[in-house]
Amino acid sequence: MDGELLSDTFVELTDTMVVGFDVIDFMHMLTDRSVQLLDVSAAGLLLADPRGELRVVAASSEAARLLELFQIQNDEGPCLECFRSGQPVQVADLAAVAHRWPQFAPAAGRAGFAAVQALPMRLREQVIGALNLFRAAPGAFDPADIRVGQALADVATISLLQERNMRHSDTLNEQLQTALNSRVIIEQAKGKLAERLGLDMDQAFSLLRESARTHNRRLSDLAQAFVDGTDALAGLNASGSQARQPAPRPPRRPGP
């Protein structure tokens, strides 16, 4: 593992959490960084909706998002087991345990994944979600990767408790619902932008994230304003170079 990238990532994550930030954007950043830092091909993050079901809130790729959704819809898979037990679940070779998840294992194979590591997001006794790491090649996960992965999952948990102290379950539930609704606003904004500029959904999402960063706005606020028509996102266009470049990182804390 790249030690400098690891320290950069944690500085970036904690910097982001110091000021007002967008939970969904933050969780996307966590899945993206998981892929960069760890020996994995994709990552997905599930959160428990108090209505009683899991929701996919972030994924590093469309394939990972669909595979997470597949588990929820078919009610089977390692990520669900991890969430229900509150314990990590590692599967080094999905093909070898296909009998355990007769629907999930072949679906993962079709999506190009051979191994999975699911890590619980825990808050005291409560399990609120899971961070799931997928790898294209079979084989055991590096224990160091698992430790860092769990730390990233813990950061995701803490990000839901932003701004206020955690004396009540009330705060967690408020933040969770707000985040889940932000997810919906962002999807609506992606659809509108994709249709307007003739983009696919991933391109539209990149453009929205980038615009939020450039203008130093919360992603969900920007998405809401765009959907409401109070912000036309002037300057964004499909042919510009913006869409192809990775989102710029937030400014670093000044060095010592």
Partner: protein
């Protein structure tokens, strides 16, 4: 059993409408929530987008007072829920934090007999249709089960408000049979439905709430599942066109 929740809540709302003797309305969701979630009373404010809205239903005198206090003072769990886009769960209004947050409203609410207030925005992403408030004379948080139910009552009220089944002109006894018939699809909704709704704002030149109404109306009229239809729109296999307007056609 989590799968049964939307259907169970819908059943309670429909039963309330039947008792009242009218088509299912968002007001029925507000009334039915009181017993199901074990609170003392409830109110429902219907609004379009970011406007202030109007008080549509209260279940007792105290809930009317609480709703009007919040609208007058402009502070309280209800206004905060509308502004933040998430529920505001004030399980003890007598607590320091609540008083600091709502210096005028919290003491007034306690005076009115409320010890806890739970406010739920009636929204689906950027679509906002109002706020549902619940109050209880006893302090303490909602149980996880009751919170899940309260959110589902709020989802149901949101869809009923969007369906416009609350307009007297629409009272053709079609309880549960319209495009909003089974609110379960809101819970089971997927990213594709939200993306398709966003796409329709551009295709049809309408606002986000209208786009969602049109998506559901199309699914209903063509007897298709909402997710299935949304996937076709997102994959660009299907485009919806604005309603043909004869006057416009004649002019151009």
């Amino acid at each position: 059993m989590t799968d049964g929740r939307p259907a169970r809540v819908w059943g309670l709302v429909a039963a309330q409408a039947a008792r009242r003797g009218g088509p299912v309305s968002a007001a029925d969701a507000c009334v039915a929530a009181v017993a199901a979630v074990e609170v003392t009373g409830a109110w429902l404010i219907a609004a379009r987008g970011a406007e202030a809205g109007h008080l549509m239903r209260v279940t007792d005198h105290a809930s009317e007072l609480l709703a009007e206090l919040q609208m007058t003072l402009g502070e309280g769990p209800g206004p905060d829920a509308a502004a933040s886009g998430g529920p505001v769960l004030a399980s003890d209004l007598d607590e320091k934090e609540a008083v600091r947050r709502w210096p005028a409203f919290a003491p007034a609410a306690c005076q009115a007999g409320a010890a806890a207030i739970f406010a739920f925005p009636l929204q689906l992403g950027a679509i906002r249709t109002g706020v549902m408030g619940l109050y209880r004379v006893r302090s303490g948080p909602l149980s996880a089960f009751h919170l899940g139910d309260a959110l589902t009552f709020a989802d149901t009220a949101t869809l009923l408000l969007l369906d416009g089944q609350d307009q007297p002109a629409h009272a053709a006894g079609s309880a549960g049979a319209g495009p909003g018939g089974r609110p379960a699809d809101l819970i089971r909704h997927r990213a594709e439905i939200d993306q398709a709704t966003g796409m329709l704002t551009e295709q049809l030149g309408v606002g986000i709430a209208e786009a969602f109404i049109r998506l559901r109306a199309y699914a209903y009229a063509h007897d298709r599942g909402l997710s299935d239809l949304a996937r076709d729109i997102v994959a660009r296999h299907l485009r919806l066109s604005p309603d043909p307007d004869p006057r416009k056609d004649a002019q151009t």
